[in-house]
């Protein structure tokens, strides 16, 4: 059974301009010890999805429905008190910007000890011991000398390590990482991803990796869900998404990866802008930007349908199977040619 099973999750926000349907009925699951990558452009609802699971949306401006069953317990229906108990102990989260995600006026030791003491009935001294251990584990050199330092005394990469130490300190079953490498430079990115993979191997933690970077997904994810405008466009095992993509939006994302073999002045891009979720397009939400748009795309909402021979691989597109297979294959071949 899956560790986290999300069914028909919806989240909407009341704003001054109207209701924003940030997440519009999505379903996915995360297996124990596995990594799910959620990919999409900014504003497609991937962060909101995770904040909803964590119960971190502002309850006064947002409403959620559907289910998110974690370890047999529905998080959407859970009381705020119960969610608070789970946060930081069973489900932990790390965020995009390590520069602003740590409290600037408290030492990192204080912040780590707080995370331990919130969920464990142990002494401050033991909590400090555990914090030192956690810092060692995430590769902070000489932790006993750094533990009383303040966040501004650490580099971005080191701060993200501290954030990871803080998230992992109570050995959560699920770690949600919201673009953890986006704000870091490329070499640091690779180190952080390595660290996350190592911790996953050591502790058997399941990870939801939210990112807009297909490179990160290829590196770390087992399964991928591609999100567009609050819905899932395509999902499946990571190899299949890269070798046999079945949705024009996924094609666009893959096609816009920078390529060394292409001598182009400009990067390929998906034409147009992501839609406003205040008044999303009818039918398939990708239709205004889709190169393969057909008449029915404007009115019919495509359902996620399994690909023949691979039921775990599903795409929400009205194109006929033959075209999808052919175009996906063509793009994958092109990518492969570029990679070698």
């Amino acid at each position: 059974m899956a560790l986290l099973d999300v069914r028909n999750l919806r989240t909407s926000f009341r704003t001054d301009d109207g209701i924003v349907e940030a997440v519009d009925g999505i379903s996915f699951s995360v297996e124990l010890g596995k990594t799910l990558g959620i990919v999409g452009e900014s504003g497609c609802g991937k962060s909101v999805t995770c904040l909803t699971i964590m119960g971190l949306n502002n309850p006064r401006s947002s409403t959620s429905s559907g289910e998110a069953v974690f370890d047999g317990e529905d998080l959407i229906a859970a009381s705020p008190q119960r969610l608070r108990e789970l946060r930081g102990s069973k489900v932990a989260m790390i965020f995009q910007d390590p520069m602003t995600s740590l409290n600037p006026v408290k030492s990192i030791g204080w912040q780590l000890v707080e995370a331990v003491l919130l969920h464990n009935d142990i002494s401050k001294k033991e909590a400090r011991e555990r914090s030192l251990q956690a810092l060692t584990e995430v590769g902070i050199p000489r932790p006993e000398r750094r533990i009383d330092d303040y966040p501004h005394q650490f580099s971005g990469g080191m701060r993200q390590r501290v954030m990871i130490a803080m998230a992992m300190i109570n050995e959560p079953a699920l770690l949600i990482a919201d673009e953890p490498t986006t704000a870091l430079d490329v070499t640091t990115q690779a180190q952080i991803l390595d660290l996350m993979r190592k911790l996953q191997d050591d502790h058997g933690t399941a990870i939801i990796m939210i990112t807009h970077d297909l490179g990160v997904v290829a590196e770390i994810a087992d399964d991928v869900a591609v999100m567009y405008a609050g819905r899932i466009a395509e999902e499946g095992v990571v190899e299949r998404i890269y070798t046999a993509p079945r949705h024009p939006y996924t094609w666009g994302l893959l096609g816009s990866l920078p390529r060394v073999d292409h001598d182009a002045d400009r990067l390929a891009q998906i034409p147009g802008q992501p839609p406003s979720l205040l008044s999303p397009p009818t039918g398939c939400r990708f239709h205004p930007r889709c190169a393969y748009v057909m008449e029915q795309c404007v009115s019919v909402v495509p359902a996620l349908a399994g690909v023949a021979g691979d039921p775990a691989h599903r795409a929400a597109c009205l194109l006929d199977e033959e075209t999808k297979a052919r175009e996906g294959q063509r793009l994958a071949d092109e990518l492969l040619a570029g990679a070698t």
Partner: protein, 323 residues
């Protein structure tokens, strides 16, 4: 930390001397003849000339300033009043405790009111409490202390008879012939001035606290605290408040100085014998040594407060302590 302190201290000293120059310049740009004022009305031209000599008014400007500075630094003396020959140091020593009672008492009142109200407003934006508080803020910012003072004295003092209409009582050791004394009478006489002061500044501070708390609530590290499973009261106490009240320290340091200005009105209304009323009386009499003395003293206070704020700030904010 030590280097930081020394740098701040040197800066404060420099600032003080810069201020003595500016203050001294006031002495000269004022359209009054100091010698004539000092000699008193009905003095003969010879007497005026003699006074001018004794005040070194015929010496070059830099020399006069030098003498003034020497008197200030070596003798720690601000000179004597033109009007009654009283030592300016004594005038200030007598008036300063009154103003200090007003300003610090007022500060305690306005902080105890504005911090909780500001926080509650920030937690429930657009609620009834928030709207009421913001209306109060608007009135408080717009109203003049003289008007507030008069209304308070009329309503609470005259109509309701709850408080004295004006007057002051010493906190300790009432002078001979004084009508009253002691902490209770002191506080009783200070209630209305404190309230007047409170309205003036609480309005502003409620706004600042509200804005700071609202801003800090949206910070990433607050979300991190919630993601750790911290309960709301703890998030507020340990993560939001500490960060959002930091700027209040700076503003408070500056406003204590500004409050000395506000004291002029409040003291006049309630007949408090403080620095504000003293400087007003001295203005009427062109009593230059007293005016200069009080100005310098006030500036010194502001410089000391700011120095103090710098230290407190470095103590509470690690980013400043170490850079």
């Amino acid at each position: 930390m030590l280097i930081y302190l020394i740098r701040r201290l040197l800066w404060a000293l420099f600032l003080f001397f810069a201020v003595t120059i500016v203050t001294y310049a006031i002495f000269f740009v004022t359209p009054a003849d100091p010698a004539r004022l000092a000699a008193g009305q009905g003095a003969s031209p010879e007497q005026v000339q003699k006074v001018a000599d004794s005040l070194h008014l015929n010496d070059p400007l830099w020399k006069q300033y030098g003498l003034f500075l020497k008197q200030l630094v070596v003798e720690q003396s601000l000179g004597t009043s033109f009007v009654n020959r009283e030592d300016v140091n004594d005038v200030i020593a007598r008036a300063a405790p009154v103003t200090a009672s007003l300003v610090f008492g007022g500060a305690i009142f306005w902080l105890t009111l504005s911090i909780p109200v500001g926080i509650l407003s920030a937690l429930r934006p657009r609620s009834l409490l928030d709207r009421t508080a913001m209306t109060f803020v608007l009135v408080g910012i717009a109203a003049h202390p003289v008007w507030i003072g008069l209304i308070f004295a009329y309503v609470f003092g005259y109509r309701l008879g709850l408080t004295p209409i004006s007057g002051y009582c010493d906190f300790v050791n009432p002078s001979i012939g004084a009508e009253c004394g002691g902490p209770v009478q002191w506080a009783y006489h200070m209630i209305l001035p404190w309230m007047t002061f409170m309205i003036l500044f609480a309005a502003l501070y409620t706004r600042i606290v509200r804005a700071n708390v609202m801003e800090t609530m949206n910070e990433d590290f607050v979300r991190t605290a919630r993601a750790k499973g911290a309960p709301e009261p703890r998030v507020m106490r340990s993560h939001i408040l500490r960060n959002s009240l930091l700027p209040i320290i700076t503003i408070l340091g500056m406003d204590i100085g500004l409050a000395l200005g506000g004291a002029i009105f409040t003291e006049s209304i309630y007949g408090l014998p403080g620095l504000g009323r003293q400087i007003l009386i001295s203005f009427e009499n062109y009593d230059m040594p007293v005016i200069m003395g009080i100005t310098l003293f006030a500036t010194l206070c502001i410089i000391i407060f700011n120095f103090f704020v710098d230290i407190v700030y470095a103590w509470v904010d690690p980013r400043i302590r170490l850079s």
